[in-house]
Amino acid sequence: MNQLAIFTPLPPSSSGIGQYSSELLPTLATAYALTIVLADDAPEPAPLAIPVTIVRVSQFAQQRAPLLRLYQLGNSPEHAYILREAEEHPGICVLHDITLQHLQRWRALHEGPTAAAAYRAEMQARYGTLGKQAADDLLQNRPTTLSYQQIPLCERVVEQSLVTIVHSDYARAELLRHCPTAKVIIAPHGVPLLPLGDRTAARAQLGIAPDTLVIAALGNLIPEKRLEVALTAFARALYHLPDALFLIAGAASPHYTPCTFARMHGLEPVTRWLGRVSAAEFEQLLTATDLCVNLRWPTGGETSGSLLRMLAAGRATLVSDIGAFAEVPDDACVKIPLGPPAEAAIVRAFIQAGTLAGWADPIGARARAFVSTAHSFTRTLAGYQQAIRQAAAIVAKS
């Protein structure tokens, strides 16, 4: 089966999975004839340098083409049409997060009373009284006490899929815990290995002094990235550092305002808030940076694309010692334990990066070497090909 219909957002969509797809498509196009299916209301995609057919989902429904479908599923509302299609037409489901609770809740709140009732029924069917209670809490505007990891609500779409692709061993184990009969294949999250940039030049362009310790948190700003913890540690580390700057770039999720936190804690003069940046600006910021932070917790089993970019750029990066992040080798990142010791561990890392010359560079070099092998597009393609073969065999049997 050499033809594939891929349901995915594409840039300029704000979904990180859109960026992931745009980088993966050239590799997939070497093996398959691709049709990209976008939402009806998605913006016109940026031009792709490969021969693919791009259609809207309503057009695709009319074509009735017997293509194998591949769904890129994440939690942004831009994936709502993909979840709907995946539930109705089984295909290969690429789960970027094990928990789809964010998207399911968005659907329950935005797609009318039928969607709300369906959400409530599914929550009750999957998780019993606790699930029903959590659904009622949402629909009656009360906070829920359950963590989304307990109620991922991915079961239905996974059980209906021919094969499910995830990015890590952790995600596979988590998914099998919720869906023991699922056919799960690991295809590592591929990331391009761009040439290393000139740090001095990048800093000059950004107006940052050569000796300043630059710490960066890049990628979409979500509460799970725990910027408050990193900023609190930064404030403490400042008492040991001659000069430091915290760069923050990425689109902020609604109702999350770490900028206010920084202002209330007196950090405005030593932080720079850049908002959403282009891919080129992202790379420039990475080049100018000494140390990155990506302290996601709790985790929905996701592999962070922004983290992989940091590692690929050869930057020493602080990660939470949990989930798929714990799969990065110990010597290729700085693992931060969860709980009360976290802040002190972050402070220590900031101080070491700022006071010990060359401390961060070997960690960054090992990170880049790790990404170049474990997250190459060759390995990603191999995972996708395995899943496509399995799915095609299932289709052929039925």
């Binding site: 404030a235 403490r236 202002r263 209330m264 804690h265 007196g266 950090l267 802040e343 002190a344 402070v347």
Partner: protein, 118 residues
């Protein structure tokens, strides 16, 4: 001779820290001053009083607003200073804990290997 045990720093917030957090929350809650609280305009008399107050506010805006702005700047600066003091305090506590640990390790080594007589 009894060696006094070293006080250890609790990982849980102490009563003092909880009190400090409570006042910090109060300070954050009330830091922003607003000179333009909503006016009540219930009833005919209320409407007249409301309109008069609105007029007075408009006339005094040039005088009141800069003062309120200055007060807000001052409150924000004070909160920032307090937060940075707190950060420094946390840092000193961390260093103290590490030093206490080192002292304990050194004392343990002294007990195991007493210094040889000169």
């Amino acid at each position: 001779m009894t060696t006094p045990t070293q006080p250890t720093i609790s990982p849980l917030p102490t009563a003092g820290e909880r009190l400090q957090a409570q006042w910090r929350a109060q300070a954050e809650r009330w830091a922003t001053v607003n000179a333009h609280l909503p006016l009540e305009t219930a009833g005919r008399l209320g409407a007249v009083v409301g309109a008069s107050r609105k007029a007075i506010r408009l006339l005094l805006r040039w005088y009141i607003n800069p003062i309120v702005e200055q007060q807000n700047h001052f409150n924000a600066a004070l909160l920032s200073l307090e937060a940075l003091h707190h950060a420094r305090e946390q840092e000193l506590l961390r260093e103290l804990t590490e030093l206490q640990q080192r002292v304990r390790e050194l004392e343990a080594r002294l007990t195991i290997d007493p210094p040889s007589p000169q």
